[in-house]
C-alpha cells in the first residue's frame, strides 16, 4: 500500500473529498487533542496544509498486535483514518497488502527514498543483542538487526505500546527472551514512548499530528512520554476521586461500595502511580474506561507494570513483609529509639550540670 509522497497534505485531503470546513474542524480537534489552545487551530491548519506526508515504517516485534488493533479501532468521525491519510504508511505487517520479498523490498525502498526523513513506529519488545537471535525473526532476520538497520536513517522513532516503550510482558520476570525496549537499544535517535497496553488510539495519532504540525517532537516526561497525554495521573483526573478524598472505598467487587461506585484504591487501583489520559479521553469513542467499568487501573502505561505486585493489591500495602516481620521491626525500632533517647537525656542532664548560674557582679564586669 505505498503512496506517492510528493503531494501536500492539503492536496491529499482534498483528493479524499474533505471540505475546507471539515479540514478546519479536524485542526481544532487536533489542537484540543494535543492540549494546545484553540487559537492554535489556524496555525495547525496552515502547517498541515503545506506538510508533506512523511513516510512511516511500522515494525512489529515481540507483540500481540493489540496496539495495532487499538489503532484500527478508529471511531467516528474517523479522526485516525484521516490522520492516516496524512502519512504514507509504507510498511506494516498487519495492514500492508504486499507479502514476502515484495514487502521487505517496500521497506528498503522507503528507507532509500526518504533517507533521514522517515518515521519508524515500533510495537513489541526486542530480544537484545546478547539474546538468541532466533527468538523472534521476520523474513529470516532477527528483530534486533531489523530494528538497527531501519532506524539508522530515521528522523525519529515512536515506540508504541508498553512492550516497545518499556519491555512490557515479554520483559516480565524471568524475561526468557532477554527482551529490551526500544529506548534501551536506540541511543542516537529521538525516541518517543507512547506506552499503554494498548495505548489510547488518539494518543498515537496525536503524537504523529504534533510531529507533522511542528516538525519536531512533543515535550516529553522523564520516561520519554509526551506530557500532553501523560502529564497527569489517572488518580488526579479520576471521576471517583471525591470518594477517595472522603475515604469511601469499595472493599470487594460486589459489595455496596462497589455498587455505589466508590473508589477502587483498596481493590488494587494503580491510578495514583499511573500517568495516562484514560480518565479524560476514555476509550471506544469516549464510551467508557476501565475504572468507569468497575475495574481498578492496572498501571499499564508505567515501566515494569507486570512485576509491580499483584493487580488487586493496593499500592500502599507492602507486598513482601508479613505482619510478624513488621511487628518485629517495630519492636527493634522502639527499643533502639528508647535507648538513644535515654542516652540523649543522660547527656543533656550532664550538660545542664556544667551550666553555671550568673550573678549580677559577673554581669556588671561587662559594663
Amino acid at each position: 500500500m505505498r503512496k506517492r509522497s510528493d503531494k501536500t497534505l492539503g492536496e491529499s485531503l482534498r483528493d479524499h473529498g474533505l471540505s475546507r470546513r471539515g479540514f478546519l474542524k479536524l485542526c481544532a480537534a487536533t489542537a484540543s487533542l494535543m492540549a494546545l489552545p484553540p487559537s492554535m487551530a489556524p496555525a495547525i491548519a496552515a502547517a498541515l496544509e503545506q506538510a508533506r506526508r512523511p513516510s512511516v515504517i511500522w515494525l512489529s516485534f515481540q507483540e500481540c498486535t493489540g496496539c495495532t488493533e487499538s489503532l484500527t479501532r478508529a471511531h467516528a468521525p474517523t479522526l485516525e483514518d484521516l490522520i492516516f491519510d496524512f502519512i504514507s504508511l509504507d510498511y506494516h505487517h498487519t495492514l500492508q497488502a504486499a507479502s514476502g520479498e515484495a514487502a521487505e523490498e517496500a521497506r528498503l525502498q522507503a528507507m532509500e527514498e526518504n533517507k533521514g526523513r522517515y518515521l519508524v513506529i515500533v510495537d513489541g519488545s526486542i530480544p537484545g543483542p546478547d539474546a538468541n537471535p532466533g527468538f523472534s525473526t521476520v523474513a529470516g532476520h532477527s528483530n534486533y538487526s531489523i530494528l538497527m538497520e531501519t532506524v539508522e536513517h530515521a528522523a525519529a522513532v515512536i515506540a508504541v505500546g508498553t512492550c516497545a516503550a518499556f519491555g512490557g510482558l515479554p520483559q516480565a520476570r524471568p524475561n526468557p527472551t532477554g527482551a529490551m525496549s526500544v529506548m534501551d537499544l536506540v541511543r542516537d535517535k529521538p525516541v518517543i514512548n507512547v506506552p499503554g497496553c494498548p495505548p489510547i488510539p488518539m494518543v498515537i495519532t496525536g503524537v504523529v499530528a504534533h510531529y507533522l504540525v511542528f516538525g519536531r517532537l512533543p515535550e516529553l516526561d522523564g520516561y520519554g512520554r509526551p506530557l500532553a497525554f501523560y502529564g497527569q495521573s489517572i488518580h488526579d483526573r479520576c471521576y471517583r476521586r471525591p470518594f477517595y478524598d472522603k475515604g469511601l472505598f469499595a472493599e470487594s467487587f460486589d459489595d455496596e461500595g462497589a455498587k455505589l461506585g466508590w473508589c477502587l484504591y483498596r481493590l488494587g487501583c494503580k491510578g495514583p502511580t499511573t500517568y495516562n489520559a484514560c480518565a479524560t479521553m476514555k476509550w471506544n469513542d469516549g464510551a467508557s474506561w476501565p475504572v468507569e467499568a468497575g475495574h481498578p487501573c492496572l498501571g499499564c502505561s508505567e515501566p515494569k507494570f507486570w512485576d509491580a505486585g499483584g493487580f488487586y493489591e493496593p499500592v500502599s500495602v507492602p507486598l513482601t513483609l508479613g505482619p510478624g516481620t513488621l511487628l518485629g521491626a517495630g519492636v527493634v525500632g522502639a527499643v533502639a529509639g528508647g535507648g538513644l533517647a535515654t542516652l540523649a537525656r543522660k547527656q543533656r542532664k550532664e550538660e545542664a550540670g556544667t551550666r553555671q548560674p550568673v550573678t549580677v557582679d559577673e554581669l556588671e564586669q561587662k559594663l
Binding site: E351, V360, L363, Q365
Partner: protein, 421 residues
C-alpha cells in the same frame, strides 16, 4: 571573682538544647516565611534580620554536638565552631532586632517556636558576656534596688499620696488577707501614674479588696528580657514571697506585656514549683468584674478609637476578647486595626529593645509597620494596655508628626465609672 566566658556560654547553649529545640532545627524547611513575618526584616529589608538566622549560634551548637552528621564533620575538621567573634556579631541580631513578639513562631508552617528559641539563645549570650549594656544595667538595678529603673518604694509612696489626695480614696498597702496583690511597673509609676489612680477608683467602685506590698511592687522581669534564668527566677521569687506574706489568692500583673508572660507563664517553671495563688492581667480582672456586673459605667467616648494589642498579651497569652468587651463598654466609635489579636504587629519596643539605647534606630524602623497599620484605619486616638507599647506608640507617632494621642484602657474605664451617691 569568676567571669563570663565563651566556655560558659557554650555550656549554657548546651543546657538549653532540649527535645523541642532539636525537633525545630531539624524540621526547618528554609521557606523564609519567618522573615516575611518579622517587622525588623520587613522594614529594613536586610536579610540578616531573618528570624531563623538570629538563632544560628544555638543551631550551630546543636548541629556540631548533638547530631550524627555534625559529629562526623567534627572528626573531619569541617565544623564551623561558635566563636566569641561570632557571638559579638550576633548580639545585634538577638537583642537589637528582636522584640520576641512571636509572630515568626505563629506563621512558621512547620510549627517551629522561634521566639522560644530566641529566649534560649539569649541564655548563652548572657553567659558568654554578649548582652547589651542597657539590659545588663537594668538587670543589675532590678536585683539591687528592686526596680529596673532604680526606683524605690519612697518614690511610689509619693505617687500614692498624690493619688489619695486627688481621689479622696485610700490606697491599701500591706493589707494581709486581701483578695488581690497589685503589682506595678516602674514605667507606670514614673510615666503613667494615672494607672494607679484608675485601679484605686475601679476597685473601690467594684468593692474589691486589694493591696500593694512594700516588700515587692515591681512586676517587670529584667532577667527574662536579658535572657538569664537565675536573675529571672530571683525576681519571680520576690513576687511569690510578697504574695505569700500577705496571703493573697490572686496576683494582678499591670499594663505591661512581658511582666505578664514572665509571672504568668515562665514564673513557675523558673522557680520549679507551682504558685499558691493565681495570676491575672489587669485587663482579665476588669473583664471579669464587667461580666459579673460589678463595673457600672456611664457615657461613651465618641471619637474614632483603635487599639494596639500587646504581643505578650494577645499573641502569646490569648487575651484578645477581654479588651474588646471593655472597649464596647466605653467607646461607641471603635475600629480594629486590620491585623489584630493574635495576628497583630509588634510596636517594635518589646523584648528588651526599649531598654537597649543602641537599638533606637532599629526600634523606630520596626515601628513603621505599626504606623502603616494605624494610618490605614486613621483613628483619632489609640488605646493600649502595656506601658512599653504605649511609650513606643507615643514616641513613634510623634517622630512621624502624627497627632494621635495614646491612652491606657484601664484609665479610660475609670473615667466612665458611675459616681456613687
Amino acid at each position: 571573682m569568676s567571669e563570663l566566658t565563651l566556655e560558659r556560654g557554650l555550656a549554657a547553649f548546651r543546657a538549653e538544647i532540649d527535645a523541642p529545640t532539636a525537633a525545630f532545627f531539624s524540621s526547618c524547611v528554609h521557606c523564609g516565611l519567618c522573615a516575611q513575618s518579622c517587622p525588623f526584616y520587613l522594614e529594613t529589608g536586610d536579610p540578616k534580620y531573618t528570624p531563623i538566622l538570629k538563632l544560628e549560634p544555638l543551631r550551630r551548637v546543636w548541629e556540631n554536638e548533638f547530631t550524627l552528621w555534625g559529629r562526623i564533620k567534627g572528626r573531619l575538621g569541617l565544623q564551623k565552631p561558635v566563636t566569641d567573634e561570632m557571638l559579638a556579631e550576633w548580639e545585634e541580631l538577638l537583642y537589637d532586632s528582636c522584640s520576641m513578639c512571636g509572630r515568626c513562631s505563629m506563621v512558621c508552617p512547620v510549627g517551629n517556636d522561634l521566639a522560644y528559641m530566641i529566649r534560649k539563645t539569649r541564655e548563652g549570650m548572657v553567659q558568654s558576656g554578649h548582652a547589651p549594656e542597657g539590659l545588663i544595667a537594668a538587670a543589675s538595678r532590678a536585683i539591687k534596688t528592686g526596680s529596673p529603673m532604680g526606683l524605690q518604694w519612697k518614690t511610689l509612696a509619693v505617687q500614692i499620696q498624690h493619688v489619695e489626695s486627688s481621689s479622696g480614696l485610700t490606697v491599701p498597702v500591706d493589707q494581709e488577707g486581701a483578695e488581690y496583690l497589685v503589682l506595678l511597673s516602674s514605667m507606670e509609676i514614673i510615666n503613667f501614674p494615672e494607672y494607679l489612680e484608675a485601679i484605686t477608683k475601679i476597685f473601690d467602685h467594684a468593692g474589691v479588696t486589694w493591696t500593694l506590698s512594700t516588700q515587692c511592687f515591681e512586676a517587670t522581669n529584667a532577667g527574662i528580657q536579658i535572657g538569664n534564668k537565675d536573675i529571672a527566677a530571683e525576681l519571680v521569687e520576690r513576687v511569690v514571697a510578697a504574695a505569700e506574706t500577705l496571703r493573697v489568692s490572686k496576683v494582678i500583673s499591670p499594663e505591661c506585656g512581658h511582666a505578664y508572660t514572665a509571672i504568668r507563664w515562665e514564673g513557675p517553671n523558673l522557680i520549679g514549683r507551682p504558685y499558691p495563688f493565681r495570676v491575672f492581667h489587669i485587663i482579665e480582672v476588669l473583664d471579669e468584674l464587667r461580666a459579673a456586673g460589678r463595673i457600672k459605667t456611664e457615657g461613651k467616648e465618641d471619637d474614632r478609637l483603635s487599639m494596639h494589642d500587646p504581643c505578650n498579651l494577645a499573641r502569646k497569652s490569648g487575651v484578645i476578647q477581654q479588651q474588646r468587651n471593655l472597649m464596647a463598654l466605653v467607646a461607641e466609635n471603635f475600629v480594629d486595626l486590620k491585623e489584630h489579636g493574635k495576628y497583630q504587629w509588634c510596636c517594635g519596643a518589646g523584648g528588651g529593645v526599649s531598654s537597649n539605647e543602641r537599638a533606637e534606630e532599629l526600634k523606630m524602623a520596626a515601628f513603621k509597620r505599626k504606623k502603616a497599620q494605624i494610618e490605614e484605619v486613621a483613628p483619632e486616638r489609640m488605646v493600649t494596655m502595656c506601658a512599653t507599647c504605649r511609650t513606643q506608640l507615643e514616641e513613634g507617632l510623634e517622630a512621624f508628626n502624627m497627632e494621635i494621642p495614646v491612652v491606657g484602657l484601664t484609665e479610660m474605664i475609670a473615667e466612665h465609672l458611675v459616681e456613687r451617691d
